[in-house]
């Protein structure tokens, strides 16, 4: 599925990105508040949220003014679709059903677990903005066992559950990544099995759950793609972190180049492959690591391993880096379009850094099964990062046009 990046020399520009100096838009019809802090009360006994950007969102029963404001919604550019804990949903929403009236449910995967629950429909708005997405399929993460329990075919695909507040790390996840739906054409296939439908969507007639094919429209949608305007992507704007462990405030701006406040400006655009991936070059030999990505839903900068970069891991946690002093590093990201951009980032000692709030030097290992880069939220501090959504043709996602720019 991965397409090799074009090497420099085939056109495209290059630039260097050093964090800081970015202009943060604070108000506008397309501007929503974004806060990085230790998260909701329920997470404090677990240590609090680390490098998680929270927003507020309003859900209404479709076509009505029966609405609810949801706080502590974690923004995620590595996924598409809205998922909310059942325990935090106080407005009654209609189930999405198939042609036989069976409720459609989903087994969604995150890196550290699954979410399971029915798909319901909601009108979605964002406080402070005029953006509206109508009748959006969203997932109700069933942390109160109000729906049929997750089948083995769902739970066995993960080592652990995100079907609770601590696992999910927020009251809801707002997936506003590069794709218009969470699954795309693969989940429309009627063949299940090798190279077929991955089986994320289910119906449970009589309490027995089996995977089903769903249409593009039935899948969880990237709500930005459903706005009437400002619907081609979004910008995450966060300042640099002056004191690790504290709160930083920024914005999520909807639309790219649709208003005077959301143009690309000097940002460098890197196009991405059909999985939203790019290539990162690193080290004295500028070794290429394809399959890398930028993801606001990841809470650190995870890259390579000690054998590759020489950075020691922590005695108490071999998945995190613990250099004796903070390292100032740089890497080069390269898009499918041949455009490259050097990025500077810092890695500090994870054992001495604060464990919650905004921590810009938090990082660790990523070498599964090949070494690559996962630029999480620390990448976003001091940079305005644009997430461009794939195109659409005749109602079908095109798997082209998706990009990241900064």
């Amino acid at each position: 599925m991965f397409l090799l990046a074009q090497l420099a020399g085939c056109g495209g520009s290059s630039s260097t990105s050093t964090p800081g100096g970015n202009t943060i838009t604070t108000s506008g019809s397309n501007v929503a508040a974004l806060t990085v802090n230790s998260g909701p009360p329920e997470l404090q006994s677990a240590g609090g949220a680390l490098n998680t950007g929270f927003m507020s969102m309003s859900l209404c029963a479709p076509g009505t003014s029966t609405c609810q404001t949801v706080n502590f919604v974690a923004v995620d550019t590595g996924s598409s679709g809205i998922r909310i804990l059942k325990s935090n949903l106080s407005v009654s929403l209609p189930n999405e059903t198939d042609s036989s009236g069976n409720t459609i449910a989903e087994c969604n995967q995150f890196v550290d677990g699954f979410t399971w629950g029915p798909v319901q429909l909601a009108d979605v708005t964002f406080p402070g903005t005029s953006e509206t997405a109508s009748s959006v399929p969203i997932q109700i993460v069933d942390d109160s066992n109000s729906f049929t329990g997750a089948p083995g075919s769902c739970t066995n695909g993960s080592a652990g559950s995100d079907n609770n507040i601590v696992g999910l790390g927020a009251y809801a996840i707002l997936g506003i990544g590069n794709f218009r739906q969470d699954c795309g054409l693969a989940c429309t296939l009627t063949f299940f099995g090798p190279s077929g439908n991955p089986g994320l969507y289910y119906t449970c007639p009589g309490g027995v759950c089996n995977p089903v094919a769903v249409s593009i429209a039935q899948q969880l949608q990237n709500p930005v793609a459903m706005f009437a305007t400002d619907n081609n992507g979004s910008i995450i704007e966060l300042p640099t972190v002056s004191t690790d462990g504290g709160t930083v405030n920024g914005s999520v701006v909807f639309g790219i180049g649709t208003q005077t406040n959301n143009g690309l400006g000097n940002a460098t655009m890197l196009t991405l492959d059909s999985n939203g991936l790019m290539t990162t070059l690193f080290g004295p030999a500028q070794t290429a690591y394809p399959g890398s990505f930028i993801d606001a839903g990841s809470n650190g900068i995870f890259f390579l391993d000690t054998a590759t970069n020489g950075i020691p891991t922590c005695p108490t946690n071999p998945s995190l880096y613990c250099p004796s002093t903070t390292l100032n590093l740089q890497a080069t990201n390269q898009g499918l379009n041949g455009t490259s951009s050097v990025v500077k980032f810092n890695i500090g000692n994870a054992e001495t850094l604060p464990g919650s709030g905004a921590v810009s030097e938090f990082g660790g290992v990523f070498d599964v099964p090949s070494p690559l880069f996962d630029f999480g939220l620390p990448f976003f501090y001091g940079r305005n990062v644009f997430t461009g959504i794939e195109g659409v043709s005749n109602g079908q996602p095109t798997d082209t046009g998706q990009f990241v720019a900064y």
Partner: protein
């Protein structure tokens, strides 16, 4: 999403058999490899066998993912997966599944937030990462890896 390493192949055998069965089944970590014929019988896809100097790799497609089993001394010492969805980890990790789940849950309970998983125990290494549409992972048993094989070859 990942460029594959060049395995030191001596010979490559490709077996393409199609059967109409819907039950995926494959070997578990640390266990005996199922035969290529059994895998092919129970999967609607081919099983690609790669022979290397120190180990054999069985590569197969399962629902949503590509799975590779690394076999030496008659045992599966390592497993990797990559794809749009994770495969059946309970089956792949076998007796180690419960332990991996416990380690993941324990870490989450003390550190809310999403990031790659890395479990390193003397007799078990499990790493998982990625995001929606692009998941990957590796699991191996260090003392079952042939001495001439580097862990990085399990990919």
């Amino acid at each position: 999403m990942i460029s594959r390493s060049q395995s030191r192949s001596i010979a490559l055998f490709a077996v393409a058999v199609v059967f109409f069965s819907s039950l995926p089944a494959h070997a578990s970590l640390g266990g005996d490899p199922s035969s290529v014929q059994t895998d092919a019988q129970q999967l609607k896809s081919s099983v690609r066998v790669t022979q290397s100097a120190n180990y054999t790799v069985h590569e197969m497609q399962v629902q949503g993912a590509t799975v590779r089993e690394y076999i030496a001394g008659g045992k599966v010492f390592g497993i990797t997966w990559e794809g749009q969805a994770r495969p059946d980890l309970q089956q792949l990790l076998g007796p180690y599944y419960a332990r991996v789940t416990q380690a993941v849950e324990q870490y989450k309970a003390q550190h809310p937030g999403r990031h790659p998983i890395s479990i390193q125990q003397p007799d078990l290494v499990v790493q998982m990462g990625g995001h929606q549409r692009a998941f990957s992972g590796r699991a191996y048993i260090p003392n079952m890896v042939p001495s001439s094989v580097r862990a990085e070859e399990i990919r």
